[in-house]
């Protein structure tokens, strides 16, 4: 039997199922006398104290097994156990209605669970599970029922349950639980987050898996795809054993590359950095081995708000990212890149027939000079705290570059006059995403400190095709000869002037493109955080010499298919990191 759920934590688990049904403590409602009710409130207070002790212990277990971040969940549990709206309200109900603690607790819990489940926010819906978890803990203490400890298993099982509460998750022992599957939940459930943190494969949202399996049923759990195979054949078991071995091998191999330099097998070094959309992403990028940020999209500061972001707000965000990486690591901040297709309440942007060919990015900024200067000022101030660089998007002509730099010079003069610190040597580069810029990149290279190739838009403008339009998206394949020739031209022109070239489009993080990009001389690769380690591993296995040779051959080929096949065949290492 094959079941399909939501992939919650990657990896493979093969073993007997252990079905944990929620026995659910029966809540009896008893009416009490006034005196009994008073005593009941005292009893409940004692129980709450015990519960807090229990959660503190679990918090410690979690801290040891999963680290400080996951242990924080229990901090919030402890705070809820001190909260008037939960504990206080229960005590009130006991006295008001003269009922036992169990019944009062059940009522308050239901109210809160219903409230949070009704909220318009997935994260908040999950909080309902927190309240159920706490309620169950208190209930068990009140009724003296012992909970099955998850650390009691003899051999590694695949745990099958309705949902895994944070407390349950924290007590999972990796030696005893090979993986788990639940009826409910999604990628952002506590159970999923903790599974990923503890690196235990998990599948959630299987709807009724607790009903469909019995204890002892052999199970294969594929946490990477969300598939589950019940009572697999010997062949399937062998297949997944192999996948599991490969997965574990790759995981430990990748970990070794976390702080390693990005070097080819013959010693050529490049920079692997991340694309981010907000400061929160920066921490994730850092954790995934990024050497810096190759594209810091700043639109988040401007969107979904009633007014312009202030210089202070912007400065705080840029500074935070700069400080996440430290002084030796580049942070390339792209100035505002929005246009008519995005709504801003506080800026009248014209409705356009062709927003992608319209009034946006640098064109908008060169007109809205106050707005542009505010951003530049914030970026310059942040440059005192890290290796910050500025990048202008959508440059089509040298006139635009000169105009932007003139405004930047004005801002610098203002800061100098006010005695505000900034990095006077800060690099200012441009995105190459418009074909016009590629064609005069030899001239632009004399006046820009670096280029970053934005392949996503460059491909669309070059091929005159919308990658979101299914009828023509086949034309937006990045390994297209025209695109590769443009890339070669940009890199050659930049290098002739002694300037470096990076790439921040999706192509940079595509393993199939990496050998050619290396061979063409790309200096910096900026991609999503999760693509960094695979790219670094791949680079370490191929030589620049081979990559250069392949690039020369590939750029004479006539079709994208031909080029892709050629690269895959010439570099079998690619398959190892896919």
């Amino acid at each position: 039997m094959n079941l399909k759920g939501i992939a919650a934590a990657p990896g493979y688990a093969i073993g007997p199922a252990f079905v944990m049904k929620d026995t659910g403590v029966k809540v009896e409602r008893r009416t009490l006398s006034a005196a009994e009710a008073k005593a009941e409130v005292v009893r409940f207070s004692e129980i709450v104290k015990q519960a807090i002790e229990q959660v503190k212990e679990i918090q410690e277990q979690a801290r040891v097994k999963m680290g400080d971040e996951q242990a924080e969940i229990f901090e919030s549990h402890i705070l809820v156990l001190h909260d008037d709206e939960f504990v206080g309200r229960t005590k009130e109900l006991i006295e008001e209605k003269s009922i036992n603690a169990e019944a009062a607790l059940a009522e308050v819990t239901e109210e809160l669970v219903t409230f949070f489940e009704g909220m318009d926010n997935e994260y908040m819906n999950e909080r309902a599970a927190d309240f159920r978890d706490l309620s169950r803990r208190l209930l068990n203490l009140l009724t003296g029922v012992k909970q099955t400890s998850l650390s009691d298993f003899e051999e590694p099982v695949v745990l099958i349950t309705d949902d895994l509460t944070p407390s349950d998750s924290a007590q999972l022992d990796r030696d005893r639980v090979a993986g788990f599957a639940t009826n409910i939940g999604g990628r952002t459930s506590h159970s999923a987050i903790m599974a990923r943190s503890m690196e235990i494969p998990a599948v959630v949202g299987l709807k009724d898996v607790t009903e469909r399996l019995q204890d002892g049923d052999m199970v294969i759990l594929d946490g990477t795809t969300g598939n589950m195979i019940v009572k697999p054949t010997a062949e399937q078991i062998a297949e997944y054993e192999a996948k599991k071995v490969n997965f574990e091998k790759r995981k430990s191999e990748f970990k070794n590359y976390l702080n390693a330099a990005s070097v080819t097998s013959d010693g050529h070094q490049v920079e692997l950095v991340a694309n981010i959309g907000n400061p929160g992403d920066a921490h994730n990028a850092h954790k995934n081995g990024a050497e810096g940020i190759g594209l810091f999209r700043t639109e988040f500061l401007y969107m979904g708000r009633p007014n312009f972001p202030t210089e202070e707000e912007q400065f705080a965000a840029y500074k935070e990212v700069a400080e996440t990486f430290g002084k030796d690591h580049p942070i390339v901040i792209r100035t505002l890149d929005i246009g008519g297709d995005k709504e801003l309440d506080y800026l009248e942007l014209p409705k356009e027939m062709n927003p992608f060919l319209g009034y946006r990015a640098i064109r908008l900024c060169l007109d809205e000079q106050e707005m542009f200067k505010t951003q530049l000022r914030a970026i310059l101030r942040a440059s005192a705290f890290g290796n910050v660089k500025i990048m202008y998007p959508m440059i089509a002509t040298i006139v635009e570059l000169r105009a932007a730099n003139a405004i930047l010079a004005e801002v610098k003069a203002e800061l100098d006059a006010a005695g505000v610190a900034y990095n006077k040597e800060l690099e200012v580069g441009i995105m190459i995403e418009i074909p016009a810029a590629v064609l005069v990149s030899d001239q632009l290279a004399k006046e820009a400190d670096f280029f970053s190739i934005g392949t996503n838009d460059l491909v669309q403008y070059t091929m005159a095709a919308d990658r979101m339009n299914q009828k023509v998206s086949h034309l937006t394949q990045p390994m297209n000869p025209s695109v590769l020739r443009l890339i070669r031209m940009v890199i050659e022109n930049a290098h002739r002037e002694g300037k470096w070239v990076g790439m921040c489009g999706e192509m940079a993080g595509n393993p199939v493109a990496v050998p050619l990009l290396l061979g063409l001389g790309l200096d910096e690769f900026s991609m999503s955080a999760s693509s960094i380690l695979p790219a670094r591993v791949l680079m370490s296995k191929i030589s620049l010499a081979d990559a250069k040779e392949a690039a020369v051959k590939a750029l004479d080929m006539q079709t994208a298919e031909e080029i892709e096949c050629f690269v895959q065949e010439s570099f079998p290492e690619i398959a190892e990191v896919l």
């Binding site: 008037d84 809160l112 929160g280």
Partner: protein, 87 residues
């Protein structure tokens, strides 16, 4: 009594971790500390459940109202935490 408006900057809004931080900061002050959402819902900043119930998201504007000992300090301190970007 003091009050001031602040903007939530954390990309994932005020979930358990930020709520805990706000609560901890507010609880350091003897005065009353309340948070009011744009739609008028007002809760004590010293209670976890109330804070979570507000369901604050990035870019939401909230008013902090403090009343009592240390109300000026409390206002700025709590406001700072509200505008903090957590991981």
């Amino acid at each position: 009594m003091q009050q001031q408006t602040f903007t939530i900057k954390n990309p994932t809004g005020v979930h358990a971790r930020p709520a805990g931080a706000i609560l901890k900061k507010a609880s350091q002050f003897a005065c009353k500390v309340e948070i009011e959402k744009a739609d008028g819902t007002r809760v004590s900043a010293k209670g976890m459940v109330g804070l979570l119930k507000l369901g604050l998201k990035q870019n939401d504007q909230v008013t902090v109202i403090t009343d009592g000992d240390g109300e000026v300090e409390a206002l700025q301190a709590v406001g700072e935490v509200l505008e903090t970007v957590f991981e």
